[in-house]
C-alpha cells in the first residue's frame, strides 16, 4: 500500500545497515554505562536514547557527515596519542649535526653523527634519519611534528571552546532574558569587541600578553606543570609557553562576543514562549529557567557554530603563526611549519603542502560534521527517518 506511486515522490525504504547496528550498540553500551551509576536512568530516558539513535542513523546516511565524523575522531585520537607515536622527539634538531638535513625533501635519508652533552656526560651515537614527509629548517621530521602538533591544536581547541563560547552563551542568555539596561550594557560591550576585526584583536593581544603570562607561570609552579603535561612538552620548554598561552587567551577574547550575540537573539525569541512564562509562574529560579529550559531549545544552531569553530580556531591560530605570533620552535605547531614554509616557497613546497593538507583535512572534517549536525538537529529529519524506518520493518522493529 505504501509503495503506491502517484504524484508523490517514491518513498525510499531504509534498511538497518551495519553502521546503524554499530551505532545502536554503542549507544546502548553508553546507556548501560550510565545505568551503572544511576539505576533508573535507562528507563526514564528511553525517548532520549531513541532520539540519539535516530540522530546516529541520520549521520550514517549522510556520507559527508560520516567522513567528517571519521576525520574528527582520527584528529582527537592523534591529538591524544600523537606525541607518543611520533618517531622523532620534537626538540631534536638534526641540523646541529648535519647541515644537509635542513629542508630535506620527502623520502630522503641522512646520516647523523650526534654528539650531545647529557647530565655532564658526553655521548656519541650515529643514526640514520629518514624523512617521510621532508624536514623543516631545523631538520625536524615533518611527520613527527605533525603528530606532536596535533596535541597543541587539540588542546587549544578544547580549552578555547570550553571557555570562550561558554562565557558568550551565559552572557547572551542573561542579556536576552533580562532585557532593558542589562541587555543594553552587555550588548554594547559585545559590540565593542565585535567592532574590532577578530584577527587584528588577536594579533594585538598575542603581541601584548606573552610577557605577563610568562610572569604568571614563573610564579606558580603548579600552573607550569599542568600546562606542560597538557601540551606534552619537556619541562625545559617552560619559558616558551608564554607565547602559546597568549594565543589561547587572545582567541578566547575574540571568540566569545559572537556567541553572546547569537544566544541573545535566540533567547529573545524563545523567552516569548508560553512554557517560559509557565515556568516563571510556578516560581522556578531564573538559573533553572535559563539553563534547563531555554538553553536546550536554542542549543541547536549554537552547537553547529561550535563545531565549525573547532576548525575556525585552527585556521586562526595558523594565521597568527603565519604572522609570527603563536608557538615558537621547539614547540610543535602546524601553523609554525607553514610559516617556515611560506618563507621558502616554492622551493620547500613540502613545508607548506603537508601541514596545509593536514589543516585543510581537519578543518574540513569539522565543517562537514557541523553541516551534518545542522541537518540532524532539525527534528524533522529525525521524524522522517523514524517514519521511514517504522514503515519498513512492519512487525516488531529492532530499535527500542
Amino acid at each position: 500500500m505504501a509503495e503506491e506511486t502517484g504524484e508523490y515522490e517514491t518513498r525510499e525504504e531504509y534498511e538497518m545497515s551495519i553502521l546503524d547496528r554499530i551505532s545502536d550498540r554503542l549507544i546502548d553500551g553508553f546507556a548501560s554505562f550510565i545505568g551503572l551509576f544511576k539505576k533508573d536512568w535507562r528507563r526514564r530516558n528511553q525517548s532520549r536514547i531513541k532520539e540519539w539513535k535516530l540522530m546516529a542513523y541520520a549521520v550514517n546516511r549522510s556520507p559527508p557527515t560520516l567522513l567528517g565524523l571519521i576525520i574528527v575522531i582520527v584528529y582527537i585520537f592523534i591529538g591524544i596519542f600523537g606525541p607518543y607515536l611520533a618517531p622523532w622527539p620534537y626538540d631534536f634538531f638534526p641540523v646541529n649535526y648535519n647541515y644537509s638535513t635542513q629542508l630535506a625533501p620527502p623520502g630522503s635519508t641522512y646520516f647523523l653523527n650526534v654528539t650531545q652533552l647529557q647530565n655532564g656526560y658526553i655521548i656519541h651515537y650515529t643514526t640514520y634519519i629518514h624523512y617521510m614527509l621532508g624536514s623543516d629548517t631545523y631538520g625536524r621530521d615533518i611527520l613527527s611534528i605533525l603528530l606532536s602538533g596535533a596535541r597543541t591544536a587539540l588542546v587549544l581547541d578544547i580549552f578555547i571552546i570550553l571557555i570562550g563560547p561558554t562565557l558568550g552563551i551565559i552572557l547572551g542568555l542573561i542579556s536576552g532574558y533580562y532585557g532593558g539596561a542589562v541587555d543594553e550594557t552587555i550588548m554594547r560591550i559585545t559590540d565593542m569587541f565585535l567592532a574590532f576585526p577578530g584577527l587584528i584583536l588577536a594579533i594585538a593581544l598575542s603581541a601584548v600578553l606573552p610577557g605577563r603570562i610568562q610572569n604568571f607561570l614563573n610564579a606558580h609552579v603548579w600552573a607550569q606543570t599542568f600546562v606542560l603535561k597538557l601540551f606534552a612538552l619537556h619541562p625545559r620548554d617552560v619559558n616558551n609557553l608564554g607565547k602559546l598561552l597568549a594565543v589561547f587567551v587572545a582567541l578566547v577574547i575574540v571568540w566569545w562576543p559572537g556567541y553572546a550575540r547569537v544566544t541573545r537573539g535566540s533567547t529573545l525569541t524563545e523567552k516569548e514562549n508560553l512554557y517560559v512564562e509557565a515556568a516563571r509562574a510556578i516560581g522556578l529560579p531564573t538559573r533553572t529557567i535559563l539553563f534547563r529550559h531555554i538553553l536546550p531549545n536554542i542549543i541547536g544552531p549554537i552547537l553547529v557554530m561550535i563545531t565549525m569553530d573547532f576548525g575556525g580556531i585552527i585556521l586562526t591560530e595558523a594565521g597568527l603563526s603565519f604572522l609570527g605570533l603563536g608557538a615558537v620552535p621547539p614547540i610543535p605547531d602546524w601553523g609554525n611549519l607553514i610559516n617556515q614554509g611560506s618563507q621558502q616557497f616554492p622551493q620547500a613546497w613540502w613545508l607548506v603542502a603537508f601541514p596545509g593538507l593536514v589543516i585543510v583535512t581537519v578543518v574540513l572534517g569539522w565543517n562537514l560534521l557541523g553541516d551534518g549536525l545542522r541537518d540532524i538537529l532539525d527534528p524533522r529529519t529525525r521524524r522522517s527517518l523514524e517514519f521511514k524506518l517504522k514503515k519498513k520493518s512492519k512487525g516488531g522493529e529492532a530499535s527500542a
Partner: protein, 333 residues
Amino acid sequence: MAGLGKFLIRRGLTFIPTLIGVTLIVFIIAYVIPANPVRAWAGGEKASQAAIEMIKKEYHLDQPWYDQYWFLVKGLFTNSLLDPLNQEPVFNNIGNRFIVTFQLALFAFFFVILIGLPLGIISALKRNSATDMTLRIIALIFISTPIYVIAYLFIWLFFIHWNATTLAGIPPGPPHTITHIPVIDDILTLDWSNFVQQVERFWLPGFTLGIAAAGVLMRFTRNSFLEAYSRDSTLFLKAKGVPKSRLYRHVLKNALVPVITILALQFGGLLAGTPITETIFNLPGIGLYALQAIMYLDFPALIGVTFLYAIVFVTANLIADILYVIIDPRVRL
C-alpha cells in the same frame, strides 16, 4: 516609514558610546603593556636620550592616560597628529591606505557575488544531486584552507607560471580623481589603460580573498533559497499553477533578503582589512598598517585605525539593518 527616522537616531546615539568604547579598549590594551615605545620610534638601538625625551613630550607620553587619550583623539581629527614612524599625519596615512583596502574589497566583493550567488542558486536548484554535493565540498575546501596557502598557490600559478598579474607596488590612479578610488575613477573618466593596470594588480588578491567568502556566501544562499522554497507561500503559488520561472523569481526575491544583509556585513568585514592577504600581495592597506602599529606600539596609528574600524563596523551593520527593513516589509522597527 516614519519609524526609519527614529530608528536612525537611536542607532546614532548608540554609535557614539561604541566608538568611544572601542578606542578606549585599544588604548588601554596598548597602554598597559610595560614597554616604552618611544625608543622604537626614536631610532631603535641607536636612539639618543635627548631624542627620546623630546618625542615623549611631543606625544604627551609623560602625562596621565586620559590626557594622552584626548591628545590623540584631538590630533587625529584636526589632522595634526603625526605618525612617529613616517612623520606623516595619521589621517593621511589612514586615508591612503584605506583607498587601497577599499579597492581590494571591491575586487573581492565582485568575485564573491560573481561566484557565490550563482553557484549558491544552482546548488539549491539541484539539491542533493552530484552537482550540489561537489559544489558544497569545493566550497568547504576553500573555506577550510588557510588563506595564505591559497595565496601562495595562486601566486605560483598566476604570476610565475602564467604571468597574468603584477606584483610591483600600487599603480598610480588616473590623473583626474573624483572619488579618489582609482578603479572607480578610471571608469568614471574612461581611462581604460589605467583601468587595465589596476585590474592586473588587484584581481588576484581580490580573487584569493573573495574565494573563501564566496564559499560562505554560496552555502548561505543555498540555505536561504531552500528555506524560501519550502515556505507556504511557495506552496501556494505552486498550487495555483504558476509557471516555474515566475515561481523561482518569487523564491529568489524572498531568499535574497537575508543574503543582502550578509553581503553588507561581509563587505564591512573585507573593509576591516585582511593583514595576511595584504602582506603576501604587498598591498599597503589598513590591515598591514594595523599590524605594523601593533608591532611598534604606534599609539597614534592605533587610535586612528581603531576609529576607522569602529566606523566601518557600525556603518556596515546600520546599512544591513536598513536594507533588511526596506526589503522585508514584515519587519517593523
